[in-house]
């Protein structure tokens, strides 16, 4: 793209450029420019200064939200791993029929809209829902408020993002050569030690892939934390939306958006250097 026209014609191959041009121009107008506008607004709204960044990086409220977002994303990633690993294992080591049924279920979950799954958790965790009823049956007189807490939004996010983790780990597990496991066994590895020193390292690429994907999506998650979370414990995306919708504070909102974007891109760049970005969703 940064190449001069004379060099292009030298090679007499302008075909790829002609084919790329419509999309390139489109992305410039409708992707790069709006993104640049966010960056510009973060420095110029309401007046040209660094005040927005100063406020966002030093204000107690914003620092708490940033920290909360990071901790939540890390915790959700860990939970997805703990939930996803056994399920991927079950899929990879079951009879084809069972494996296919579970795969069907995970695929279903993957393709079901975030909103639908968020709504389901409202039903499950609501005051008239089955979980509260179960607690009351077990003799808990005053069941705790489950909905609109950190607990409910975290649980729903784990459920929504788990398929990304499961798919990544499952793909790697399926490729493990059973001969490797057998030879480790013949050398005396058993149980926990076999898992710790042979199986787990072999699945590490899937874990890395899934974790990066879940962590990055969770950092910028808007819908579920806004609908299910506690209004007092917002995540960054929710706070950005709040600034824009309620206060029309485009400068502050943009500064937070740019920080979120930079952090996301740093993580993805590290990933890209090591594995290649196209592998992430593949």
């Amino acid at each position: 793209m940064g190449m001069s026209l004379s060099k292009l014609t030298e090679k007499t191959n302008i075909w790829p450029w002609l084919l790329l041009a419509p999309l390139g121009i489109y992305m410039l107008i409708f992707f790069v420019v709006p993104l640049a506008e966010v960056a510009i607004m973060s420095f110029t709204e309401p007046k040209v200064s660094l005040a927005n960044y100063q406020k966002v990086l030093t204000g107690a409220l914003y620092q708490r939200v940033f920290l909360n977002t990071f901790m939540t994303a890390a915790f959700v990633t860990l939970c997805c791993l703990l939930v996803g690993y056994p399920l991927a294992y079950l899929m990879a080591h079951s009879k084809p029929r069972t494996a296919m049924l579970i795969l069907l279920l995970v695929t279903m979950s993957f393709w079901t809209s975030f909103l639908v799954r968020t709504y389901s958790w409202m039903v499950l965790l609501g005051n008239n829902g089955p979980l509260i009823a179960f607690l009351q049956m077990m003799g808990v007189d005053k069941p705790p408020q489950l909905l609109f807490t950190r607990f409910s939004s975290t649980l729903a996010m784990v459920h929504i993002l788990a398929p990304y983790m499961i798919m990544n780990i499952y793909t790697v597990m399926k490729k493990i050569d059973p001969a490797l496991i057998r030879s480790a066994e013949s050398l005396g590895a058993r149980g926990w030690s076999l898992f710790r020193h042979v199986y787990l390292p072999l699945t590490a690429p899937g874990i890395a892939n899934g974790s990066v994907l879940v962590f990055v999506i969770c950092l910028g998650f808007y819908v579920t934390p806004v609908l299910l979370g506690s209004p007092r414990e917002q995540m960054i995306a929710g706070l950005i939306g709040h600034q824009i919708e309620e206060f029309l504070a485009f400068g502050l909102g943009s500064a937070m958006a740019i920080i979120l974007l930079v952090v996301t891109l740093i993580i993805l760049t590290i990933y890209h250097r090591r594995f290649g970005l196209d592998k992430l969703w593949g």
Binding site: L20, M27, P34, M108, F114, Y119, V123, G129, G191, L277
Partner: protein
């Protein structure tokens, strides 16, 4: 270790499945607020959905926007994919990466950008604005699917056609396109779903005039949790189920040996 993993796996199956299926009984419930198990059953909320303009217009908007987005996305992505897969040129690595960028940027960031930018252009609260934004967001997934297909394409088939006297245009029309059809279909389908499900950007720019179904659902869940949402969720649940199960059954009928396929993308 093995036994532990299997038991844990079965528990997780329940965790994944429960929220998916619970919307089905909920949609037949006659409770006016969230209550499970339902106190009684009726079809009232189905009638409410199919007769309410408040829900049908957003549904129609979403279908319209997703269809237009798919057409525009494919018109832009198909030629670009041919350029990126079949040609070598300087800056190709950069162009490849740019194709994936909209997937890497959190949607809330794009939402802020579109809200302000389309505000300047007078495109907020319009179908066109949502279509233009959704097309950007659909490019990566359409490109990933299509380029994977095109990379696996055996170019000897084209050479054979041309050596038999077919012109490049005829070769493209009668050889390349038919072989690529499954890839094109899946790629379009992913672009459609990406747009149909997209929530965050739609919340910020679709307004009341171009309100999409996800935006309407989001507002409704936030305000009153209208039981009609359970109806829509159930309908979407069955659309997805049919969409995923149909290929299994089709291949089972054809070969009696269904092959599991995995989704190639994310939204």
């Amino acid at each position: 270790m093995n036994t532990f993993m299997r038991w844990a796996g079965f528990v997780v199956v329940l965790f994944i499945a429960a929220p998916l299926v619970i919307v089905v009984p909920m949609s037949f419930s006659n409770a006016s607020s969230l209550q499970f198990p339902p106190p009684g059953y009726w079809l009232g909320y189905y009638r409410a959905y199919f007769t309410s303009v408040d829900w049908l217009i957003p549904t129609w908007n979403s279908i319209l926007i997703a269809t237009a987005t798919t057409i525009l996305t494919m018109a832009l992505v198909v030629p670009a994919t041919f350029a990126l897969v079949r040609h070598k040129f300087r800056g190709k690595g950069f162009a490849d990466l740019m194709m994936l960028m909209p997937m890497a940027v959190p949607h809330i960031v794009m939402a802020v950008g579109y809200y302000s930018y389309f505000g300047d252009l007078g495109l907020v609260h319009s179908h066109l604005g949502v279509i233009l934004a959704h097309t950007c967001l659909s490019v990566p997934i359409a490109f990933l699917v299509l380029s994977a297909n095109l990379k696996g394409f055996d170019r000897n088939l084209e050479r054979a056609a041309q050596s038999l006297g077919a012109s490049p245009a005829k070769t493209f029309l009668h050889v390349t396109l038919p072989i690529l059809r499954p890839g094109l279909v899946i790629s379009s389908l992913f672009a459609f779903i990406q747009s149909f499900d997209e929530t965050v950007v739609a919340i910020f720019i679709s307004g009341r005039d171009a309100e999409t179904l996800p935006r309407k659902m989001f507002d409704s869940i936030r305000q009153e949790a209208d039981p009609v949402i359970a109806v829509i969720s159930t309908l979407l649940f069955f659309v997805v189920l049919i969409g995923i199960a149909a290929p299994y059954f089709a291949s089972a009928l054809r070969s009696r040996a269904p092959k599991p396929s995995r989704p190639a993308g994310a939204h």
